[in-house]
Symmetry: C2
Subunit: 325 residues, 2 copies
């Protein structure tokens, strides 16, 4: 008999609204008969969504942390915030992980409050991005900590290395530091200081600075930067992919070659599928916490759940059967 798993899903925080998230939960229930789900959010919305309630636990918490809130203040002032209640539930019950499309800052605050693996290590947000070697690069931090200290970047390097080692089965993950030039002398103050620390860390396989045009080249397995720069990398790549796809479609329309261009567009979208690949994962938490982007819908939730189940089953997250190879 299959082992039973429980996943906590925060239904609030997506731009597409809670029903889209609940749809994702429905898909997970259909795909995995051994998975139960805890839905956190507005009880009335969830109950009236038509989801089969027999394998669902509802935690009523209809409040959210918006982009205009200070997440730390929100933690102390606001009651019944879904993202905090979801983290609290995940910490106090046996679950294989939680998923949210809510506020990154709030997710960090909640993780530090309830789910910290090691009290001396600041958690970070990782994105697992498809690289040009047909493998994956773990980008840390992607926006949890916007202003970072050099020592925090070193912690992120350790968290990212551990993640790629155990979940992507890479023996000694290569760590790169995002900079504006390959030379050790290049970088802002933060990057220059971090370079010196990483270089001398015997537990990090540091390969040096990586420039912005090589972020997805596959030169390193873990790419370290502060949350501001990481957010730029993530959004720049996504923006540029969107721009090029739009440009290709325009070209197809203009030249009447729609069939051929759409085949290429479909291929590109599959390779750089940001909705399914782009979900972030919090590193440094006791259990895996997935952060889907604000624009997430059904597919993102289903794909994050699939990821959590693979982690729970200790499967390598990279099976070599990538679409691109």
């Amino acid at each position: 008999m299959l082992k039973r798993y429980k996943i906590v899903i925060d239904t609030l925080g997506s731009d597409k609204g809670p029903l889209e998230i609940v749809k994702g939960a429905k898909e997970v229930l259909n795909n995995y008969p051994n998975v139960d789900i805890v839905l956190v959010g507005d009880k009335n919305v969830i109950e009236s969504s038509g989801i089969d309630l027999s394998r669902i636990t509802i935690v009523h918490a209809p409040e959210t942390v918006t982009n205009y809130d200070n997440p730390i203040e929100a933690f102390y002032i606001k009651a019944d915030v879904s993202i905090f209640k979801a983290i609290e539930y995940a910490a106090n019950n046996e679950t294989i992980g939680m998923i949210t499309a809510g506020n990154s800052g709030a997710l960090l605050v909640g993780t530090i409050r309830y789910l910290l693996e090691d009290k001396s290590v600041r958690p970070c947000m990782a994105a697992i991005l498809p690289n040009m070697e047909g493998k994956f690069t773990c980008l840390v931090d992607t926006g949890a900590t916007i202003d970072c200290l050099p020592t925090q970047l070193v912690q992120f390097a350790h968290l990212g290395s551990k993640f790629m080692k155990y979940l992507y089965k890479i023996d000694s993950p290569k760590v790169g530091l995002l900079s504006n030039g390959m030379e050790p002398t290049k970088g802002n103050k933060l990057v220059k200081e971090t370079h010196l620390l990483l270089k001398d860390d015997p537990n990090i396989n540091f390969i040096g600075n990586i420039e912005g045009n090589k972020t997805l080249s596959g030169l390193c397995d873990v790419l370290v930067c502060d949350g501001f720069a990481g957010n730029q990398v993530l959004k720049n790549c996504e923006g540029m992919a969107t721009n090029l796809v739009t440009e290709i479609i325009r070209y197809g329309k203009k030249t009447g070659l729609m069939e051929q261009t759409m085949a290429i567009v479909t291929h590109i979208m599959k390779t750089y599928d940001f909705e399914s690949l782009g979900a972030g994962i919090v590193l440094g938490a006791k259990i895996p916490v997935m952060k889907c982007r604000g624009s997430s819908g059904e597919k993102a939730i289903a794909s994050a759940s699939h990821y959590l189940i693979n982690i729970a089953e200790n499967k390598s997250l990279y099976d070599g059967t990538d679409e691109r190879n």
Copy 2:
């Protein structure tokens, strides 16, 4: 009779070597019978290159500033550095501008020393990037100043606005601030402080924060950020364009649809032609100074010269006949 123009070209600093830069100069001489060129670099190399010397002035300066040098130290210690000699020549003679593929930091130091337009304003490096509206976005700073102050970012906003107003004939250029979220509360310390200054500046048409996935969307005419972030934007966009083109070519090979895919690739490369469009321009200097990337060759030099001639003739740099429209 055509007015005679003089352009200063630094032949050193390109990864492709000085002969490739001299080739660019040859092309300019062929295309523009009214242009004379000052070539700065190794006299022997230039003389033996076979270029017609009748319209060439040679300034012998065989030294370079490498990425391992501190540009300020290099300015005081090294003699006969081509980039500094080129700037000095441009400052002391009647020229319509200078072009270099050399070190950005050295270019900034030389500009501040010889070519400053206003002693109270720090110059910055701008890139003029094709956006999704079929127009151009001026990105400042792209790497001249890596660690910036909020007041410097405001100066960059002014320099960028002036440039887009006079050279791209945009009445009141819209200025955006690169951040990790649209809300004024989003950003690192530098960005949050800069946001408040830009918001209150009556001479800036500030439209707020712009996220990384909207850098080339055309929402703003001038996009402001520090040199570290600007370098990331530039290189991320270039890297992602290269990745997608490579992926499309792989797909073409795999499916046997090479002809159709190459037509698309050619179109994309024309739209996002980083060698001809991606040259940077120093803003805040007395005369236009073009910075071509380190990998620049013949084409980049020819295209930067064309740009300088258009500026000298006070032509709008955007004539509405973009390839993409």
